[in-house]
């Protein structure tokens, strides 16, 4: 398997060779093999078509003359296991072992590799890869298998029904004849594409549902995996940079005398709003950067603080906003309610802090440009480079790489544009590597949100009215403007609307307020990262107001959502819900249906006398439909839980004088191994279509922890991250 960077093959990325109608097309591969392409031209009306969910994402299967099966991966690998789970889908239907499949990174080409669940953008995000790939990838594999079998049958002059595929061969049982796929590939290429194929029934799966070994592990334990930051085109120089510490500021003056004198420094590149030091190695580049004296023109945001932003959001929520969901009559129900509960919630800006800091390698030549990067949006990376250089798209070659953590950060191409701006001034290739400080202080952040909640309860304490109004940035309005309609976008409200609970009267309003100068972006578990914390904390408040058990209260509202109810019951049972715990220890629960997946979590915490919170154990029950690889599902929950606890306990980006106050892992802390809880994952067997698994674990854990802290201390935390000083035990 090749996991290094690869140059796209000529012809492979040429959309003109593909059907304009979409679906499967077959052809001869270079060198006499079978090439199957699944294509969908996204050029026109893509959003509507995508919304209808009526078609396939794009893939290439190539079966070469030597029998090698090559899959061009439209989704990227950033740890979530796509480079294993997606080949499993194809291998299952092709009747080959996973070890017979080799992967190539897809080149940038939105028409070929657009993600139908993200409106045709060539993107890996939003926990969509498996849901998007589930049906078309199996169909592609089954079609290839059918064509190989027809090729064999016609060679032997027998009925295709009497043939069987197994282990990369077609067998004719009655005569014992067999032919390898490689021997059949060229013939198969000229067979008609069957109009329909029968997919394997789940009972017949050999691979799907098994904990098959990850294909990307071996190269990741011996240092040979190649990430974007490891790209080393011949003669590459290394650059690092300082961008305006205040967002929107400009370079006023640079004194680079001392920097130029540093051994190994080659060049100082001054841009409008950044300065880069180009050197033989990063050590010299960093030393050069430290030796620069830069004077900044700070621009309009030099006074900005987080408080000011929060006040702006708070003010916005005093007025009604566009209605994202309205059920029944909230005013009337509220007026007739026996009790009312009101609360204000807030969540902070968050940085991604991917383990691999931002980086991008670029070679700008007279009439072409080459880019080496790890990106979740390859076609956008290409477009960004084309824009900065002024070159046509086809003159920009982008090599994708393994990604050392995405979490949404690499859905943005600011780092690519920046690297190209620098590279335009440099002779030969240059690798631009951000220091961790630069990475944290010039991230694009999970937005700050301010939420007003109110509910009306009947005499029994059950909710009869639910009102949720919140303000904050809309990422989608910038990322995919056509998805932002009537002041609303489906991401920002995800997890706030269409709750699993039966609420007879409910209204959700969203006010888009963009923080001045602070760039915002998707962050693992996106809309639900904020909304599920708010809704699952608030429902916990209602249970407490009704003096009812938090699990029983939720259960009573889940009759219309049997799958959500089942995971809630399972998590509660496995966690020993209701069993006694020592003083200042407690359990908290959350349940959600987001990313097409039902999940419940029970967190067990203990709070020390001085307010320090330790999460000891997390029990997660999940029903994500059909499970492709249960071990990867487990790993995704474990990782997402740690990611969410990190946010709950430590995650906060604050601004003072227009500057981000956090800079490195000392001030923007990560959970460490000594703080990691035991995590149990219980998977519900299901034959429903698969839901996403990369993100739900993160949105579910934050309210579970907050609710557990309430159970342990009686303190309701309505603002993240956890404020330990508020949890001190009174003397």
């Amino acid at each position: 398997m090749i996991l290094g960077h690869l140059t796209p093959r000529p012809g492979q990325s040429d959309p003109n060779t593909l059907s304009r109608r979409g679906f499967l097309q077959a052809g001869a591969a270079a060198g006499g093999g079978l090439m199957l392409s699944l294509s969908w031209p996204f050029a026109d009306g893509e959003a509507d078509a995508a919304a209808a969910g009526a078609f396939a994402p794009n893939a290439f299967i190539r079966i070469e003359g030597d029998g090698q099966i090559v899959l061009t991966m439209p989704y990227v690998e950033m740890g979530q296991g796509d480079y294993t789970a997606i080949p499993m889908l194809i291998a299952e239907e092709l009747e080959v072992g996973l070890d017979q499949v080799r992967l190539e990174h897809a080149p940038p080409n939105e028409k070929l590799y657009g993600n139908p669940l993200i409106a045709g953008v060539q993107a890996t995000g939003g926990s969509t890869a498996i849901p998007a790939a589930w049906e078309p990838m199996r169909r592609a594999g089954a079609t290839a298998r059918a064509m190989l079998m027809s090729a064999a049958a016609s060679r032997w002059n027998v009925d295709p029904e009497s043939c069987r595929a197994n282990g990369g061969e077609v067998l004719h049982a009655p005569t014992g004849r067999r032919l390898k796929y490689g021997e059949l590939a060229a013939d198969a290429a000229s067979m008609p594409v069957p109009a329909s194929v029968v997919l394997k029934r789940s009972e017949a799966f050999n691979l799907i549902g098994t904990p098959a070994k990850r294909l990307d592990s071996p190269v990741k334990v011996n240092g040979s995996a190649v990430y974007g930051i490891d790209a080393r085109p011949p003669g590459v120089k290394i650059a690092t940079l300082a961008q305006s510490p205040v967002f929107g500021g400009r370079v006023k003056n640079v004194d680079d005398t001392a920097a130029k004198a540093v051994n190994g420094v080659r060049q100082i590149v001054r841009l409008d709003d950044a300065v880069a030091v180009v050197a033989d190695h990063m050590g010299a580049a960093k030393k050069g950067l430290a030796a620069l004296t830069i004077e900044w023109d700070q621009g309009p945001h030099a006074q900005l603080t987080t408080d000011e932003i929060a006040r702006g959001l708070e003010k916005a929520t005093l007025n009604p906003g566009p209605v994202a969901q309205n059920i029944g009559n909230v005013e009337k129900a509220m007026a007739n309610a026996a009790t009312r509960v009101e609360a204000i919630y807030q969540v902070p800006f968050l940085a991604h802090a991917t383990m691999e800091p931002m980086n991008c390698t670029v070679d700008v030549r007279q009439d072409s440009c080459e880019v080496w990067v790890g990106s979740q949006v390859l076609a956008r990376a290409q477009a960004a480079a084309a824009k900065v250089t002024g070159l046509p798209l086809e003159k920009v070659v982008v090599h994708n790489h393994l990604i050392g953590g995405g979490f949404g950060r690499r859905l943005e191409v600011d780092g690519v544009a920046r690297a190209v701006e620098i590279a335009k001034h440099v002779e030969g290739p240059v690798k631009v590597v951000w220091t961790r400080e630069e990475d944290i202080q010039h991230d694009m952040y999970r937005p700050y949100f301010f939420d007003r909640m109110s509910a009306g309860l009947d005499e029994k304490g059950m909710p009869v009215a639910w009102s949720h109004r919140f303000a904050g940035s809309s990422i989608l309005a910038r990322f995919l403007p056509r998805a932002f309609k009537h002041g609303l976008d489906p991401d920002t409200t995800d997890g706030a609307i269409d709750l699993a609970y039966a609420l007879p009267n409910m209204r959700v309003e969203y006010l888009r307020v963009e923080p001045p100068g602070i760039p915002t972006a998707f962050w693992r578990s996106v809309g639900p990262s904020h909304n599920v914390f708010v809704t699952e904390s608030f429902i916990d408040e209602l249970a407490a107001a009704a003096k009812q058990d938090a699990v029983a209260y939720r259960r009573a509202l889940l009759d219309k959502s049997p799958r959500a109810k089942a995971v809630l019951e399972l998590a509660a049972e496995k966690a020993g819900w209701g069993q006694p715990l020592p003083e200042r220890a407690g359990r908290g629960v959350s349940v959600q249906f987001v990313f097409g997946t039902n999940m419940a979590q029970v967190a067990e915490v203990e709070v020390s006398k001085d307010g320090a919170v330790r999460v000891r154990r997390v029990v997660c029950a999940v029903d994500c439909g059909v499970v492709v690889n249960p071990d990867i599902v487990r790993a995704q929950v474990e990782g997402a839980v740690i990611f969410g606890i990190t946010a709950a306990l430590y995650g906060e980006i604050t601004l003072k004088d227009g500057r981000v106050e956090q800079a490195n892992f000392d001030t923007y802390q990560m959970l460490r191994i000594s703080e990691a809880p035991a995590i149990e994952v219980h998977i519900v067997q299901s034959s429903e279509p698969p839901g996403g698994m990369g993100e739900p674990g993160t949105s579910a854990i934050v309210p579970a922890v907050a609710n557990a802290i309430f159970a342990a201390t009686g303190k309701r935390l309505r603002k993240m991250p956890v404020d330990a000083s508020a949890l001190k035990q009174p003397a």
Binding site: G223, M355, A635
Partner: protein
């Protein structure tokens, strides 16, 4: 300034300032990219190498401080007994996600196992505390270290 360092049993002569962190000499000068950059301040462990068998953050280790000592990196850790066991346990337990932190994790874990064949949970905490994994593979890291220790024990 020309210096000679010993990496994975081989001598390399490099011409950099003596205060250049070893990390950049490995990655950018010698092209050994298995050792990773995460923070540059000894806060994350991604850059961990062994210097005479001791887990060391190469991002804060000036290259001229290494002297005659033996540097071992992820590229060669599989040749050591503890390193091979750790790598195998990592694969058996499917520890890896994005993998970016794992070179450092494996270097810290193999130094631990080499010096302490039967680490307790708190030994593991102490040895691995400095290695951040943003993908959150900690639960499996702990299990894998224990498994590697067991296999070490079985061989006596």
């Amino acid at each position: 300034m020309a210096l000679t360092i010993k990496v994975n049993g081989q001598n390399h002569s490099v011409d950099v300032d003596g205060d250049t962190p070893l990390l950049w000499v490995l990655r950018d000068v010698l092209g050994m990219t298995g050792t990773k950059f995460g923070c540059g301040m000894a806060l994350c462990g991604a850059c961990t190498v062994h210097i005479d068998g001791v887990a060391t953050r190469s991002c804060v280790t000036p290259v001229d401080s290494v002297g005659e000592s033996q540097i071992t990196t992820i590229e060669a850790i599989g040749a050591t007994k503890a390193g091979a066991k750790i790598q195998k346990a990592w694969l058996d337990n499917e520890v890896v996600q994005c993998g970016y932190c794992q070179s450092g994790q494996i270097m810290s874990a193999s130094a631990l196992l080499a010096s302490n064949p039967h680490p307790t949970d708190s030994d593991i905490d102490d040895a691995m505390f400095g290695n951040i994994c943003r993908c959150g593979t900690y639960v499996r890291i702990r299990e894998a270290i224990k498994k590697a220790a067991q296999s070490a024990g079985q061989e006596g």
